[in-house]
């Protein structure tokens, strides 16, 4: 209990002191997670909406695959990306391994099934009569999909919130493909692991509090967006 209190105090002190290293870690965490979230939202929301609207026979299989993907162990994704980007791997020539780009790639793969699957569920939950009414008013296909997304926005924002939660707190994949290199690929979660291994529990706790605070603030913004619409 004492250590937790000290962790909270240290977190406040660390933030107030504003060391360059800490701000660098926070900035990289936000950049990696923010970019991954943006990418998987830009790809996953339209794909989820299209799947939700499609009448393909294989829709059930695709849905089952997506739902399975929601439970992908991050460390397995990390291993997969590692093998892809390693020097002898198919994408080795890119030279992305142990860079933030590799971390973004891994986090995007982790979050994509969540955003797509939950968007699909939200779109399917919209009253079929709504879609018919929108078409009856003269909507094009794109306008129809947009109207459905607007109607399903509570679910879509929930999908983005869930994806954010899963990747901001993720450690296995970013550790594998980023390497936790100081000043280059160290993010909050990997820094916590390192501090814990070194017995720096108070510092690890302080970083944990900062991580929670960031997650809380980001979720507040996302939920505000949900409420506003």
């Amino acid at each position: 209990m004492h250590d937790i209190l000290r962790g909270l105090l240290d977190a406040a002190r660390l933030l107030a002191a504003g060391s360059r290293e800490l701000w660098g870690i926070i900035a990289l965490s936000l950049r990696v997670t923010g970019t991954s979230l943006l990418l998987c939202t830009l790809i996953g929301v339209p794909v989820g909406a299209a799947l939700g609207l499609s009448r393909l026979r294989s829709r059930g299989l695709v849905t089952a695959l997506l739902y399975t993907g929601m439970g992908l162990p991050p460390v397995v994704v990390g291993l997969f990306v590692y093998l892809l980007l390693s020097r002898s791997g198919p994408l080795g020539a890119l030279g992305w391994l142990f860079t933030p780009r590799a971390m973004i790639m891994a986090q995007t793969i982790i979050a994509f099934p969540l955003v797509t699957g939950l968007t699909l569920t939200a779109v399917r939950g919209v009253d079929p009569a709504f879609r018919q009414q929108v078409r009856a008013l003269g909507a094009t296909r794109v306008q129809e999909i947009w109207a459905l997304l607007e109607e399903a926005r509570l679910g879509v924002v929930a999908a983005v919130v869930a994806a954010f939660g899963s990747i901001i707190s993720e450690v296995g994949a970013v550790m594998l493909v980023g390497g936790n290199i100081e000043g280059r690929t160290r993010v909050l979660t990997t820094a916590i692991v390192l501090d814990t291994r070194q017995g720096e529990f108070v510092s690890a706790l302080a970083l944990g509090v900062i991580l929670l605070l960031l997650a809380f603030l980001a979720n507040l913004v996302l939920l505000r967006l949900q409420g506003k619409q």
């Binding site: 003269g138 607007e150 109607e151």
Partner: protein, 244 residues
């Protein structure tokens, strides 16, 4: 009330089938430009299916639908044709937005500005004071008037009404009927109304037809349809003696 002109819709041998079951089988039907056509019949007669076909929301299993002498079917219908026809359904489906935003929606889809049209139509349907209210918190009658305003603001050439006043109180029924009549008389909008309310058909329509088990039993001028029906099933339906 406008008398009907040239055919705006022509249906030839139109059949619709759901899960192997024929739900609509119309040998021939013309909707005349500028008329109010009422199609009456019990639930399950195929009335709503017919409206979905006329609104190009689905394609028939067989047969031809001609809109102004051009073949038109389902989603393949050109957008500019689709946008001349719109529907008001029995259960108003409104967006999670204000009354104003709902009514302006069709204009927004077409990239048009309100130009005072939304305000004017809200006045017509008696909802000007509720323009900023969340549409989904209105009463059933008010919501249906929003749905009607949303359809009328885009100035459709054909207005399809699927039981537009079912479950509404007499005040809202009267108001909606007056608006439909004014739209038809003022702008010459063709109206196809499907209902099981024979009294409403009698009050509004130039011509009335009876749909039964997906087939058009009889179609005639409204006065003749009610006063001297040719088919005994029509006589039984309009007198309320039909058991179905």
């Amino acid at each position: 009330m406008m008398a009907g002109g040239q055919p705006i819709f022509r249906l030839e041998g139109v059949r619709q089938v759901y899960a192997g079951r024929t739900v609509l089988d119309i040998a021939s039907l013309e909707v005349r430009d500028g008329e109010i056509l009422a199609l009456v019949g019990p639930s399950g007669a195929g009335k709503s299916t017919l409206l979905r076909l006329l609104n190009f929301l689905e394609s028939p299993a067989s047969g031809r639908i001609l809109y102004r002498d051009r073949l038109a079917s389902g989603g393949a219908t050109p957008l500019e044709v689709r946008r001349q026809v719109t529907s008001v359904f029995q259960r108003p489906v409104l967006q999670r937005a204000s009354v104003w935003a709902n009514v302006a929606y069709g204009l927004r889809l077409r990239g048009l500005h309100s130009d005072g049209r939304v305000g004017a139509i809200l006045d017509t349907v008696g909802l000007a004071e509720l323009a900023r209210a969340p549409a989904r918190r209105l009463s059933g009658g008010e919501m249906q008037r929003v749905a009607l305003a949303r359809a009328l603001v885009i100035r459709p050439r054909v207005l399809l009404l699927d039981e537009p006043t079912a479950n509404l109180d007499p005040y809202n029924v009267g108001l909606i009927e007056r608006i439909i009549r004014a739209e038809n008389a003022g702008r010459g909008t063709t109206v196809v109304l499907v209902t099981h309310n024979v009294f409403q058909a009698h009050r509004l329509a130039d011509r009335t037809g009876l749909l039964l088990a997906g087939r058009l039993v009889e179609l005639d001028d409204t006065e003749r349809f009610f006063s001297s029906p040719a088919d005994p099933r029509t006589a039984a339906f309009v007198s309320g003696e039909m058991v179905y």
